[in-house]
């Protein structure tokens, strides 16, 4: 009797759990986004990587057509957009590999990797999104290819969130 009661209670609890799963996060809305320059802090990363990430982000986010306007860092026109959001990217770690090693010993050696923290804030500075993203190049291509991979991943994140 006690066992039957126990099993019933456990089944009831299990049935109740799915109904408690939180509702999916509502999508964010903004007509325009401003892409800030990539912050590098104390991380040693060549200038070309910093600016390649920035340029590829602008390119990829524009191509995604998720926002009516994509502003560069410093663009004066961005101030007039009431629902503007800003994308901040900070480099957390950088490992520069070697294209030659990658081609000789693919995947195992020579990978280039960039780890960043991506944040989206509204006009008041309120954080709307905060995620860690990594960009890699592990087999073919130049080291700068990691910036392309990173920009694609960040854009995918933005498309999923807006």
């Amino acid at each position: 009797m006690k066992i039957a009661l126990g099993v019933t209670l456990m089944l009831a609890a299990a049935a109740a759990i799915p109904s408690q799963t939180p509702a999916p996060t509502p999508k964010l809305h903004a007509s325009a986004i401003q892409i800030d320059l990539v912050e590098v802090g104390d991380v040693s990363i060549p200038a070309e990587f910093r600016y390649a990430i920035y340029e590829r982000l602008i390119e990829q986010v524009r191509e995604s057509r998720k926002f009516e306007k994509v502003f560069r860092s410093g663009d004066k026109a961005a101030k007039n957009v009431p629902d503007l959001v800003t994308l901040h990217t900070s480099v957390e770690a950088f490992t520069e590999g070697s294209q030659m090693k990658r081609e000789l010993v693919p995947v195992a050696m020579g990978s280039t990797k960039v780890d960043v923290t991506t944040q989206v804030t509204d006009k008041d500075g309120k954080k709307l999104l905060d995620q860690k993203v990594a960009g890699k190049v592990r087999i073919f291509g130049e080291n700068l290819g990691a910036t392309n991979d990173l920009a694609k991943r960040i854009t995918k994140l933005l498309v999923a969130s807006f």
Partner: protein, 162 residues
């Protein structure tokens, strides 16, 4: 015998691509100029206070006075451009991984020039060029002489990639 012939042809092609005859230096636009395609080859000139990149019929002009920073770096990359990539891809079909020999042969050191400027709307742009070795320093000197600004002097070329 066949393997030896194939290897000789592939190595010959690699060496030929690596040692291009005397031509006006080709500059590759990696990213950053909105009117020019990525990885387009062309010529970079600095005249009358204007940095101009011309690729086929397209051109992009940046006033030197709007340049806020110029960075120079070097990188080891694959030589031969698109043709080199095709030869290397074909070589992968060679038996016993012998095509990987091309990876070692088809290496070239290039200079990377990063030019940061502000557009008329205030937006920051980062343009990255890949130049033949030794040209980036000269180009930077020319840009500074033409009116470009630099936030911090770079004393030496930093070689990073093995």
């Amino acid at each position: 015998m066949k393997l030896t012939v194939l290897l000789s042809i592939l190595m010959g092609a690699g060496v030929a691509l690596a040692q291009q005859p005397d031509q006006p230096p080709n500059v590759r636009h990696v990213i950053g100029l909105e009117t020019i395609k990525r990885n387009a080859n062309g010529h970079l000139t600095i005249q009358n206070g204007i940095m101009q990149f011309t690729a086929k019929k397209l051109e992009a002009k940046v006033p030197a006075s709007s340049i806020e920073d110029v960075f120079v770096g070097t990188e080891m990359t694959q030589s031969g451009g698109t043709a080199g990539r095709v030869v290397k891809t074909a070589a992968m079909a060679a038996p016993f991984g012998s095509g990987k020999a091309l990876t070692l042969l088809m290496r070239t050191k290039v200079d990377i020039l990063t030019v940061v400027y502000r557009g008329a709307d205030g937006g920051v742009h980062g343009v990255i060029f890949s130049l033949p070795k030794g040209l980036a320093e000269t180009t930077r000197t020319q840009l500074v002489a033409a009116g470009a600004h630099m936030s911090a002097p770079q004393t030496e070329l930093k070689e990073r990639t093995k």
